[in-house]
Symmetry: C2
Subunit: 129 residues, 2 copies
């Protein structure tokens, strides 16, 4: 398990640490974008329209929400569908590819849940020092 990861890292190094051109890193950078994971989590419970997502993320500006959705759409994780209602509405949903990312993300969420108090303790200790 651990050796496998070291091997992976070694692959990075063998490429001359050109992590800027590493495809895996470029993918992860989208995963690591500020709000995209939150969007994915909201969409996990089903398709949602733009304003519903906006209401679900009150501290994210529409501008950034739009940008996150475009990024996710571009990478094929989210699908955008326009309905010809009046006024037209737009629905976003996870693609199969997007759904396949949810399991790793859930592992992260589970980890956070499990270690939450340990982190809080460490933080308190650090801030006290």
């Amino acid at each position: 398990m651990r050796d496998l990861s070291v091997a992976k890292l070694a692959r990075f190094s063998d490429l001359g640490f050109d992590l800027g051109n590493c495809p895996v890193r470029s993918v992860l950078s989208h995963v690591s974008a500020k709000w995209t994971v939150l969007v994915l989590l909201l969409l996990q419970s089903g398709p949602k329209r733009f304003n519903a997502l906006a209401r679900g993320m009150p501290d994210v500006s529409k501008r950034m929400l739009t940008q996150s959705l475009r990024d996710l759409e571009r990478d094929g994780l989210v699908a955008r569908q326009v309905f010809d209602t009046k006024p037209p509405s737009v629905e976003y949903r996870l693609t199969p590819l997007g759904e396949s990312l949810m399991q790793p993300i859930e592992q992260l969420v589970d980890w956070a849940t499990l270690k939450q108090s340990e982190i809080a303790d460490a933080r308190a200790r650090f801030d006290a020092a």
Copy 2:
């Protein structure tokens, strides 16, 4: 990541996310911190000194590397140890807590590796349109 007001948190809860005690935001702030995951991956192969990490991430400024390391140290994922050499050197290593985060992160890396071509295709399709 900026703190949420009580009112905003209440709305998150309405959507089924317990972000009041939210470990999700806490962990997401690391995952979305752009460089911290990379630091963790580099430290996975063993303790490293500041400049070794800097060489391993040539496109990250020292300023941001310092900040990432402080954040990780604060949350107890990374330990910082100063050696009284001349000049003094500083070594960073994963704590057990930090190591426990590596498995979820590896899942993310594995996912990215597995899906990278699918994502590249989606991206090409999107950009062509």
